[in-house]
C-alpha cells in the first residue's frame, strides 16, 4: 500500500523501457500484470494493517516450522523478548570486552635499512609499463605503494590507451596476487606433478639444449602465444639460428589470423587495421565488438565518445553506428541500428551490401559476380539505407566529405569477408582516414588452429616440446587430440605457465611463469610504438618470463629479461651514450621515442583475388530449429580462460546478459520459445560426434537460430576460485555449482569462430544462472533517458521534461553550497559528477576500476543470488522499445548520487553517514552498527552491506578461521579502509583522491585546479563518459558538462537533489530506417506477435 502517487508521464513522452523478457510480458499481457500484482502482494502481505506475529526467541533458535501456538504470546510465561535479549547480550559483551582491552597490542615500525632512491614512504610512485592485447599493446601507468603495485591506469601518452584502460587491465592486478599461481617448478612423477628446485629444472633444460644442439633442433618444437614483443622476435631469430631444424608454432585461442590473411589477399601485405572512430561519420560494425572487448577497443572507444556527445544541436556531426551481428555485443548495444544476422550469414550480408554500393560508389565493380547472393527480404531496406549512408548519397545525410565512413569486421569472420571489407573501405576512401593500416611485427605468422594442427601431426616424431604460456590442453580445437599426445613415451613436454593448469598436469616439466607486472619485456602497439614493459615488483614466486625461458633455450648467455630488452634497444641506438639516455627516457615515458610508424596506404586492392576467394567460399545452409549455429566469443572478462581464477573477473557481470560466475548458451527469445525452453534449462548441443551440456539463456536482440557460447569457462584446473565447482545444495538452497561450461568440444578447425550444423536436445534438468540486473527494481520510472538526434534538436531539454520535478519544500534546513572563500585563497568546493549516457557503452570498466581502487570484495555466486554483490557502481541494462525481439539498449552506470538532501543520512541512528560541507555523502565505517536503514531508504539502491567478512568469505565460508590468503592482502589500496562484516559502504566519489589532492595543493601552497581530482572510474573510462570535479568552479569541465541541456537527475521527483547529473542518451538513427530503430516510436505499445 504505497502512498507514492502514481507515476504519470506526459502522453507519448519517452520510450518503453524494460529490464527483462519477464518485464516485457508483464507490461503487455493480462497474465503478466496479474503476476506482477501477486508479486507486490508477496512483498507486503495484507498491507500494513494486518497484525504482525510476535516472534519468540525460542522459535528462532529451533529454526523449525513455526509452531502456531508457540508463536502466540503466552501470558504468565517468561519469554526472552528482543529487549531482554539485547540487555543480557550487551552485559555479556561488555564483560568480555573488559578482559582484553587494556592496551592495544604492541606495534612495530620497520624502517628501510637503506632508503630506496625516490621512494618516500606514504607517497605512491607511478611507473609506465604495458600489457599485451594480441597484436596490440595497452600502455599502463601502475601505482605502487612502497614497492607493491595496487592500481592500474592508462598511460595518456600511449596511442592505444590515451589514458584509459579496458576491463581486463583493471582486473590484472588481481592475477598478480592470485594465491593459486604456480609457486615453483615441478616435474611429473608417478601420477602427479611434484615440486623440484630451480637447479634441478635448469639441469634438465641444459640437457635439452645439449641434446638439440647436437641434432640441430630436429626433434625440438616450440609452441607459443602470439607476441607483440620486438625482443621476443629477436630471441626467436636467435633460437632459429641455433636450432635451424627446429620449428616455432604460434597458437592463440583468440586469433587474428583471418585479419592477417585478408590483408595478404587484398593488398598483398601483412597489415593490421586500427580504427580511428573520431574521423568517421558513419560506421558499420559487422560481427565486430571493436568498441567493447577486441584489441584496440580503448582507442576506438575514445573516438566514439568524442563523436557521440553532441554538446549543441546542429553544431556537430554526430557519428552514426550500424551493427550487423548475431550475438549482442557492447558495440551492437551502442549502435543506432542493429540488424540481427547469424555470424555465418554476415559474409552474405556484406556481399549484398557491396552489391548495393556498386551503384552509388566507384571501385567495387571489379568484384563482379562474386557479389551476387540471395538476400533475406528483411535485409533490403537496411542494406539500401546503409549503402547510401556509407557512400554519402543520402540527401538527408549530414556528411559533406568523402572518406568519412567505414566498415569494421570482427575477427571471427573468414578472410574473404575481411578482404571484401577492405575493398569497400578502399572504395569509400576510408583507408588512410578512419581505417589506419600498419605493418606487423611478424609477417606470415599464423596463430590459428592450423598451426596447432600441424604440430599435432608431427608430435609423434619429435622429442621435446616446449610450450611457452597458453593452455592447449584446454583450449585446442576438438578435432585433434593434442591433450592426449603431450605425455607420450619418448616425448619431453615442458610447459611454462602462470598456473599449474590442464596442460601442466599433462606435461613432464612445469616452469612457473611470472606475471606481466613482474617481468622485463617490450611491447609494440599496433602503430609500431614500442613500450618498455618494466617490472613493478620482483617475481613473487621466482617465476620467469616466456622471453627468459626461450632465451635460455636459445643459448643467450645473459638470459635475464632486463639484459635481453636492453640489447634490443641498444642494437637500434647510434651510440652507448645515446642508448642510455634513450633507455631512461623510454622507461619514464612508457614509449620508445621515434618508434611510432606511419600508416600504410596501399595503392589499390587486388579485386580479382578477392573475387576469386569470395567465389571459392561456400555459402552455408540456412539455419533452422534443427540446424543451429554456435558462435564462440572470447569472454569479456576471462578472455580465453587465462583469467579464470580472477575473483573480480568471475563476478564481473557480462555487459549484456548480466550473468555472473557462469557462461550459458545465449539465444534469441524466439528460438528459445520455439524449442520449448526456459532460462536455465540444461540442453545438450551436438555438432558431429561432439556434444556439450550447458544451460540456456534468452537474450532479446540475439539472432534467431544462433547460439552464443563464451570461451574461457568450465576450467577443470584453474585454481581455487575458477575451477568448475559442483556442490550439492543443502536444504532449500539450490546447488552451488559455478564456474561455467567448457564449450571447446564443439570448436573445431573448420568451425573456429562459428559453426553451423548444431542440434539441441533438452535434458530435463535445470541450472541456476545468476544475473545482477533484475536486483534493482525501478518500478517503471524513467531512469535511463534517451532521444533521437532529431528529437533533441526539436526539444533540447527533453531529458528534464521527461523527469518529474520535485515540488514540495525540503524537509530539513537547506545547506548553503554557494561558492565562497573558506580559507585565504581557498574556495568551497562542490563536488559533482556527470555521466554522459550518450558516450557510455556500458563496458563495465568503471565498475572494475572502482573495485580495484576501493578494495571491494567479490562475494561468490550464492551471495550474488541473494542480491549481495558489492560493486559500488552497477551498470543497469535496459531494453527499450516495443518490439521484444528487436530492442534498443540503454546502459547506465549508477553509483552513489551524493544527494544534497540525502535520504540515507536522516535515518541513520548513529550518524555514521553524514554530509561534508563540500556535499560529499560520507561514510564513517567505524560508527556503522549495521542497521541497514540507510540502504532501505536509498532511492537509488546504491548502498552495499557487508553481511559477512566478504574478503575471506570464499576461502572460509563458515567463518571458522576468518582469514584469506595473505598474498591477497597485498593488493589493497592502503588509502581506503578495508571494511569488515556488519558495515555499510558505497561510492565515496573516491574521497581518498579528493583528500590527497587537497593536501597536495596545501603542501604546494596553491589553489586547487580543475583536474586535480580524477576518480578511478573517470580515469579508466575509455569513452570519457564520466567527468568529476568542482561544480562551484564555473570553468571546470564538470560544471560545463552539468549545464548541458540534456542533463537530468535520477528520480528528481523524490527531491534528494543528487550531485550526480546524467546527460540523456542521444541516438542518431537514419530517418529512412526509423522503423528498425531501437528507439521505436510506434504508438501501439501492445504490439504483439504469436509466440
Amino acid at each position: 500500500m504505497s502512498r507514492r502517487k502514481p507515476y504519470v508521464l506526459p502522453e507519448g513522452k519517452g520510450p518503453v523501457v524494460w529490464r527483462s523478457l519477464e518485464d516485457f510480458d508483464a507490461m503487455t499481457s493480462d497474465a503478466g500484470q496479474a503476476d506482477q500484482k501477486k508479486r507486490a502482494e508477496a512483498e507486503l502481505p495484507g498491507g500494513f494493517t494486518a497484525g504482525l506475529p510476535i516472534l519468540q526467541a525460542s522459535s528462532l533458535l529451533k529454526k523449525a516450522k513455526p509452531d502456531p501456538i508457540a508463536a502466540q504470546p503466552r501470558p504468565g510465561k517468561v519469554s526472552v523478548g528482543r529487549r531482554g535479549f539485547l540487555q543480557t547480550g550487551a552485559l555479556a559483551a561488555g564483560a568480555l570486552g573488559l578482559q582484553g582491552c587494556i592496551r592495544r597490542p604492541e606495534e612495530n615500525i620497520l624502517p628501510y635499512v637503506q632508503g630506496p632512491e625516490y621512494l618516500i614512504p606514504g607517497v605512491p610512485l607511478h611507473f609506465a609499463t604495458a600489457t599485451s592485447r594480441g597484436g596490440d599493446a595497452l600502455g599502463l601507468l601502475v601505482t605502487s605503494h612502497e614497492g607493491r603495485p595496487t592500481k592500474i591506469e592508462g598511460n595518456p601518452q600511449h596511442p592505444s590507451s590515451l589514458g584509459a584502460t579496458d576491463v581486463r587491465a583493471q582486473q590484472m592486478i588481481w592475477d598478480l596476487y592470485d594465491p593459486d599461481r604456480s609457486q615453483g617448478p615441478a616435474r611429473y612423477e608417478g601420477d602427479a606433478l611434484s615440486d623440484v628446485t630451480f637447479a634441478e629444472l635448469d639441469t634438465a633444460l641444459r640437457a635439452v639444449v645439449a641434446k638439440h644442439t647436437a641434432d640441430r633442433g630436429a626433434g625440438l618444437r616450440v609452441l607459443m602465444q602470439p607476441t607483440n614483443s620486438p625482443t621476443m622476435m629477436r630471441v626467436k631469430h636467435r633460437f632459429s639460428q641455433r636450432y635451424p631444424e627446429a620449428k616455432i608454432y604460434t597458437y592463440g585461442s583468440v586469433s587474428d589470423d583471418a585479419m592477417r590473411a585478408s590483408t595478404r589477399l587484398a593488398f598483398g601485405l601483412d597489415l593490421a587495421a586500427s580504427y580511428d572512430v573520431s574521423r568517421a561519420d558513419v560506421v558499420l560494425a559487422l560481427d565486430s565488438d571493436f568498441l567493447g572487448f577486441e584489441p584496440g577497443s580503448v582507442r576506438a572507444s575514445k573516438g566514439f565518445g568524442a563523436r557521440r556527445t553532441p554538446t549543441a544541436p546542429d553544431r556537430d556531426h554526430m557519428l552514426r553506428l550500424y551493427a550487423v551481428e548475431g550475438t549482442v555485443s557492447t558495440t551492437g548495444a551502442a549502435a543506432d541500428h542493429r540488424l540481427r544476422v547469424p555470424a555465418q550469414d554476415c559474409g552474405r550480408f556484406l556481399r549484398a551490401l557491396a552489391a548495393a554500393l556498386t551503384s552509388v560508389t566507384d571501385g567495387l565493380g571489379a568484384l563482379g559476380d562474386s557479389l551476387r547472393v540471395e538476400t533475406d527480404a528483411h535485409w533490403n531496406d537496411f542494406i539500401r539505407a546503409v549503402a547510401d549512408d556509407l557512400a554519402g548519397v543520402n540527401g538527408k545525410s549530414n556528411r559533406t566529405q568523402a572518406g568519412r565512413s567505414m566498415v569494421v569486421v570482427g575477427p571471427r569472420q573468414p578472410p574473404e569477408v575481411h578482404a571484401l571489407a577492405h575493398a569497400i573501405n578502399h572504395a569509400l576512401g576510408a583507408i588512410g582516414g578512419p581505417v589506419q593500416l600498419y605493418t606487423v611485427l611478424d609477417p606470415n605468422r599464423t596463430s590459428g588452429p592450423g598451426a596447432l594442427r600441424e604440430l599435432a601431426g608431427e608430435i609423434d616424431s619429435i622429442e621435446t616440446l616446449l610450450i611457452l604460456g597458453g593452455n592447449p590442453a584446454y583450449d585446442a580445437p576438438a578435432d585433434f587430440p593434442i591433450a592426449t599426445q603431450l605425455r607420450r613415451e619418448g616425448l619431453t613436454t615442458i610447459h611454462a605457465s602462470t598456473h599449474r593448469d590442464e596442460t601442466s598436469t599433462r606435461s613432464n616439466w612445469h616452469i612457473p611463469l611470472a606475471h606481466e607486472l613482474e617481468t622485463w619485456g617490450d611491447q609494440r602497439a599496433i602503430d609500431g610504438s614500442v613500450t618498455l614493459q618494466q617490472p613493478l615488483i620482483a617475481p613473487l614466486f621466482h617465476g620467469r618470463s616466456e622471453l627468459e625461458v626461450l632465451a635460455m633455450i636459445a643459448g643467450e648467455r645473459n638470459w635475464r629479461g632486463h639484459a635481453l630488452v636492453r640489447r634490443t634497444l641498444r642494437e637500434r641506438s647510434p651510440s652507448p651514450v645515446a642508448f642510455e639516455r634513450r633507455w631512461r627516457q623510454s622507461l619514464h615515458a612508457g614509449l620508445v621515442a621515434g618508434s611510432r610508424q606511419s600508416a600504410v596506404v596501399p595503392p589499390g586492392v587486388e579485386s580479382a583475388q578477392i573475387a576469386e576467394a569470395l567465389l571459392a567460399a561456400t555459402l552455408p545452409d540456412a539455419l533452422s530449429d534443427s540446424n543451429l549455429e554456435v558462435q564462440f566469443i572470447a569472454d569479456p572478462h576471462l578472455h580465453d580462460g587465462r583469467f579464470a581464477n580472477n575473483l573480480w573477473a568471475l563476478e564481473a557481470a557480462d555487459p549484456l546478459t548480466k550473468i555472473v560466475w557462469d557462461n550459458a548458451a545465449i539465444m534469441s527469445r524466439k528460438t528459445r520459445d520455439a524449442l520449448h525452453l526456459r532460462n536455465g534449462d540444461m540442453v545438450r548441443l551436438t555438432r558431429g560426434d561432439q556434444s556439450i551440456e550447458i544451460p540456456v539463456w534468452g537474450l532479446p536482440g540475439h539472432a534467431d537460430h544462433s547460439i552464443t557460447l563464451n570461451l574461457g569457462w568450465g576450467r577443470t584446473e584453474a585454481g581455487r576460485y575458477g575451477t568448475k565447482q559442483t556442490w550439492p545444495g543443502i536444504g532449500p538452497e539450490p546447488n552451488w555449482d559455478a564456474g561455467g561450461f567448457d564449450v571447446h568440444p564443439l570448436r573445431t578447425t573448420d568451425g573456429f569462430g562459428f559453426a553451423g550444423g548444431v542440434t539441441l536436445t533438452k535434458l530435463g534438468s535445470t541450472y541456476e544462472l545468476i544475473q545482477t540486473q533484475t536486483h534493482g527494481f525501478m518500478e517503471g520510472r524513467p531512469i535511463a533517458i534517451d532521444a533521437t538526434l532529431e528529437e533533441y534538436r526539436e526539444e533540447p531539454e527533453f531529458a528534464s521534461y521527461r523527469t518529474v520535478e520535485f515540488t514540495s519544500g525540503p524537509l530539513w534546513e537547506e545547506v548553503d553550497y554557494e561558492p565562497r572563500e573558506v580559507a585565504t585563497g581557498r574556495m568551497l568546493a562542490k563536488w559533482g559528477m556527470v555521466i554522459d549516457l550518450s558516450a557510455c557503452t556500458g563496458c563495465g570498466v568503471c565498475t572494475a576500476a572502482c573495485q580495484s581502487e576501493n578494495n571491494i570484495p567479490s562475494v561468490g555466486k550464492q551471495e550474488v543470488r541473494r542480491g549481495r554483490f558489492m560493486t559500488w557502481i552497477r551498470i543497469d541494462r535496459y531494453f527499450t522499445g516495443t518490439e521484444r525481439d528487436e530492442p534498443g539498449f540503454a546502459l547506465q552506470p549508477v553509483g552513489c548520487q551524493h544527494c544534497e538532501e540525502a535520504p540515507c543520512e536522516n535515518v541513520c541512528p548513529v550518524n555514521a553517514t553524514a554530509h561534508s560541507p563540500e556535499g560529499l555523502n560520507d561514510m564513517a565505517y567505524n560508527r556503522c552498527i549495521g542497521t541497514r536503514y540507510c540502504a532501505n531508504n536509498c532511492p537509488y539502491k546504491v548502498r552495499r552491506f557487508n553481511y559477512l567478512d566478504w574478503h575471506s568469505h570464499l576461502d572460509d565460508p563458515w567463518g571458522m578461521h576468518g582469514s584469506f590468503p595473505e598474498i591477497r592482502q597485498m593488493m589493497f589500496n592502503p588509502n581506503v579502509t578495508v571494511r569488515m562484516r556488519g558495515v555499510m559502504e558505497k561510492c565515496t566519489y573516491c574521497v581518498q583522491r579528493i583528500q590527497e589532492a587537497k593536501i597536495s595543493a596545501r603542501r604546494d601552497q596553491r589553489a586547487m585546479a580543475d583536474g586535480d581530482v580524477v576518480t578511478a572510474c573517470q580515469s579508466a573510462c575509455p569513452t570519457s563518459a564520466i567527468v568529476f570535479g568542482d561544480l562551484n568552479d564555473a570553468g571546470s569541465r564538470v560544471a560545463r558538462a552539468a549545464s548541458v541541456n540534456r542533463r537530468y537527475k535520477l528520480l528528481a521527483e523524490v527531491g534528494a537533489q543528487p550531485r550526480t547529473t546524467y546527460l540523456g542518451k542521444i541516438r542518431n538513427p537514419n530517418p529512412l530506417l526509423t522503423a528498425h530503430a531501437g528507439h521505436a516510436h510506434s504508438d501501439d505499445a501492445h504490439h504483439e506477435e504469436a509466440h
Partner: protein, 183 residues
C-alpha cells in the same frame, strides 16, 4: 564513570613510553645537540608518514661517532644484515583514521602540539590522548596551535608581537566532517 575514564585514551594512551631496541635519546639529539626534527624525519613535509629514518641515517653519523658503543649494536647489526631495526610504535593511530603529517605542517601546526616536548624526552612518551575528541578540539579551534611554517620544528616558539593569529586562522580550514580523516 571510573570505568569510562579507565578505558579512555586519556588513560590508556597518555604516558605510554615503550622501551625501544636502541635507547635513542631525543633529549640528546634534538635537545642538547639541537638537531632539527627533519634531519631524521626527512619526509615529514612531503608525506602522510613522518617516517622513522632508515638505518642508513643513523649510520651516517654513528659510523664515526661512538662506533663501538654497545647501545648501538642493533643499529650496526641492521646495517650489516639488512634487517630493519624493530622500533616500537608509540603514537598509534587506529587503521581507519588517516592522519597526514604534511598537511598539518603545511597548515602551520608544530610538532610540539601533538608530540609534546620531545626535545626533553629521554624516552619518547605519549603526551596527548590521540583520540577523536582531542583531534576535533583542535580542528574546531586551531588558533592556539598555529605558528609560522618556518617555526614548525621549533619546540620553544612562543607567539610574539609580529605574529598575526587572525591572519593565520584565516589561512586554514581544518575539516570537521567524517571524510576529512576517515576514508
Amino acid at each position: 564513570m571510573a570505568v569510562w575514564y579507565y578505558l579512555s585514551p586519556s588513560n590508556l594512551q597518555v604516558g605510554y613510553a615503550p622501551e625501544q631496541p636502541v635507547p635513542y635519546s631525543h633529549r640528546l639529539h634534538a635537545g642538547e645537540l639541537g638537531m632539527d626534527c627533519r634531519y631524521c624525519h626527512a619526509n615529514v613535509e612531503r608525506s602522510a608518514k613522518a617516517m622513522v629514518p632508515p638505518t642508513q641515517t643513523c649510520m651516517g653519523c654513528h659510523a664515526v661517532i661512538h662506533p663501538e658503543s654497545g647501545a648501538l649494536q642493533p643499529v650496526r647489526d641492521s646495517w650489516e644484515t639488512g634487517e630493519s631495526v624493530h622500533w616500537v610504535q608509540a603514537h598509534v593511530l587506529p587503521d581507519h583514521a588517516y592522519f597526514d603529517h604534511s598537511a598539518h605542517l603545511a597548515a602551520g601546526v608544530g610538532c610540539v602540539s601533538c608530540h609534546g616536548r620531545v626535545d626533553q624526552m629521554e624516552v619518547v612518551r605519549v603526551e596527548e590522548p590521540i583520540a577523536m575528541q582531542w583531534c576535533l578540539d583542535c580542528h574546531r579551534d586551531p588558533a592556539a596551535h598555529l605558528r609560522p611554517t618556518t617555526e614548525i620544528t621549533n619546540m620553544e616558539w612562543e607567539p610574539d608581537s609580529s605574529w598575526d593569529a587572525d591572519e593565520a586562522l584565516a589561512r586554514v580550514n581544518p575539516p570537521q566532517h567524517c571524510s576529512g580523516c576517515h576514508r
